[in-house]
């Protein structure tokens, strides 16, 4: 069970490989990775602000909640902050479980909570300047299914 908040890029492939290798006996591994969309070339870059201290705390709580709801043998959350270029990876989650239904549900739960309950704020930079990304109603609605 690992939570990492970092400015540095992470190696998605190496993370997936190491996570799956450590998950022997689990049967099912789900990994998710979120990338900076370039919005057809209009996005020049992104800056992610966060709340050091609370971020780690919030992610650890979300992860503990996932572990209490599903039989997970392992879980991983990696989230970056600072400047990011289009196409770069923002974050990833990984879950391992005996059965795929649990691994999928837990990964979706982690993502839904991460989106709306972890203190990160995205600011986009385009030709017209910079703008804070607005929270989407769908993301708040997504929490209600859990």
């Amino acid at each position: 069970m690992t939570v990492r908040v970092q400015a540095a890029p992470f190696a998605y492939g190496a993370e997936c490989e190491a996570f799956a290798a450590a998950a022997q006996g689990a049967g099912a591994v789900v990994t998710f990775c979120g990338l900076v969309r370039d919005n057809d070339g209009t996005l020049h870059g992104m800056e992610i602000e966060h709340y050091p201290g609370m971020t780690e705390r919030a992610l650890a709580k979300i992860e503990a909640e996932a572990r209490s709801r599903w039989a997970l043998s392992d879980a991983l959350i990696v989230h970056r902050h600072g400047p990011l270029a289009p196409g770069e990876m923002i974050m990833m989650v990984a879950t391992a479980s005996r059965h795929r239904a649990d691994a999928f549900a837990a990964a979706e739960f982690l993502m839904d909570y991460l989106k709306s309950r972890a203190p990160f704020w995205k600011k986009e930079r385009t030709e017209e300047g910079t703008a804070w990304v607005a929270a989407r109603d769908e993301d708040e609605d997504a929490l209600r299914r859990w």
């Binding site: 979120g34 992610i48 602000e49 966060h50 709340y51 201290g53 609370m54 705390r57 919030a58 989230h79 923002i90 974050m91 993502m111 991460l114 989106k115 709306s116 309950r117 972890a118 203190p119 990160f120 704020w121 995205k122 600011k123 804070w132 990304v133 607005a134 929270a135 993301d139 708040e140």
Partner: protein
């Protein structure tokens, strides 16, 4: 009571600073917001639409009715957009 107050994202930009120490007798989060808003227009503007503001007390999400008793760090920020 001495409180560390943190601001993030556009609240930080609108108020013009990331953190400050506030000496206050506010009982609830709402009281503190009223006190800050009365202080200067930049605060009043930042807190004009509270539907767009979230609060954390000692790094846990909370709400405007919550009491400040025993709290050391309070943070204001817009809805989160992680992931």
């Amino acid at each position: 009571m001495k409180l560390t107050v943190l601001y993030f994202a556009w609240l930080r930009e609108r108020i013009g600073l990331p953190r400050e120490t506030v000496e206050t007798d506010a009982v609830t989060v709402a009281d503190l917001i009223a006190e800050l808003s009365a202080r200067e227009e930049r605060y009043a503007l930042a807190f004009a639409d509270l539907k767009a503001v979230r609060v954390a007390l000692d790094q846990d999400l909370s709400d405007f009715d919550a009491a400040l008793d025993g709290v050391r760090e309070i943070a204001f920020f817009p809805p989160m957009t992680g992931g």
